[in-house]
Symmetry: C2
Subunit: 217 residues, 2 copies
């Protein structure tokens, strides 16, 4: 844990988080990690390679940390509450701000992009699991691609993280409205069997119509 490689990996995460992709460099990382600047190149070859390794390192760590809490979720509401908690915990300690910075950097850096996709993919896989579990026996699972939903949710989460950095109140309001929305969905789940059957019938009929063609399997 105290070896130089690890110090550099965690120094890279901390630097990305607190200084952003624009000012993250071998020198700033080494300063944060408390090691010599040349060691970045000895251990990782280049700054980009260090960043890629650091993201993987951080995502593995963090996803593992949340796994039991994801596993305990049994409703959409609980999932959103976990999301809110995660949002706050990660802002202080973690990996989401890093993910956002790496995503920004990856738009124009082909060496960063695959690592970022993999890091985000770990969160997506976790979310896909939970969503599949929580939404089973709801119209959502039947009529909406849950994997797509998981991807949309992960991307949205990163967007909210970035948004919070420039408008804290606005982000809080956004999060609150999503909770109201999830209450609405929860209540629909609890509708009587007759109503549910009606909804389901309508959806099935509608699916036959236009735009059913561009829906993925």
């Amino acid at each position: 844990m105290g070896d130089t490689r690890t110090k550099l990996l965690e120094g890279a995460l901390e630097t990305l988080r607190t200084q952003g992709i624009a000012t993250t460099s071998a020198r700033s990382i080494a300063a944060t990690a408390g090691v010599n600047q040349a060691l970045v190149f000895y251990h990782f070859g280049s700054v980009d390679d260090l960043l890629a390794a650091a993201l993987r390192h951080g995502a593995e760590q963090r996803v593992a940390l949340y796994r039991t809490r994801f596993a305990a979720v049994t409703s959409l509401r609980e999932l959103l509450e976990l999301g809110r908690a995660l949002h706050e915990e990660e802002r202080a300690a973690g990996n989401l701000a890093v993910l956002a910075q790496m995503l920004a950097g990856s738009q124009t850096d082909d060496k960063l992009a695959p690592a970022t996709a993999a890091g985000l993919g770990m969160w997506v896989a976790e979310l896909e699991d939970v969503l599949g579990r929580v939404l089973v026996d709801t119209p959502l699972a039947e009529f909406v691609d849950v994997g797509g939903l998981a991807r949309a949710a992960a991307a949205a989460f990163v967007g909210l993280e970035l948004y919070e950095g420039v408008d804290k109140d606005g982000a809080e309001r956004a999060l609150a409205s999503l909770e109201q929305l999830s209450d609405l969905v929860t209540l629909l789940e609890e509708l009587g069997p007759l109503t549910r059957r009606t909804v389901r019938g309508r959806l099935r009929r509608a699916r036959g119509n236009a735009r059913g063609d561009d829906v993925r399997p």
Copy 2:
């Protein structure tokens, strides 16, 4: 339009879009704009100030360009379709990738943050308008803070833009699932009056319960 100031504003946008915040500099912007590097400081004082001005410039231009199309939207489905079109058009020509880069930069640069918040705010205002119009007479407008929803949607949109940069297929899947989701909501809007009354009643009863306290006006 051909004057130096404008060239710099548009050069800044283009540079942010194609090179990202990490490699955007007075020199790279000036090269893109085809003007001398020292003019950045003569006209705008600093790089940050130029970026702030450029974002405002671009957001005004782009929001105005889409205003009539936003105004023509009459359903959630249409709104999502406009979102998809906007997503594709802006990727080539515009302001959304810039917004994402500025958001990333703003997390750790206090000079950039207010300008970014203002630029994003223009899109939020537009969205809030349309959503208010489209959702009127639905349970959503009554039980969910539409302004919060607009903020969540704008943030999510930026997140999707970033996500697309590292996983094009995943982003497409995310967008498709949102369209499926909007179909579902649309159909709920079309439920018979009896069912609607049931839903509304349930929501009203539920609102009295726990967590009604942290809901914004």
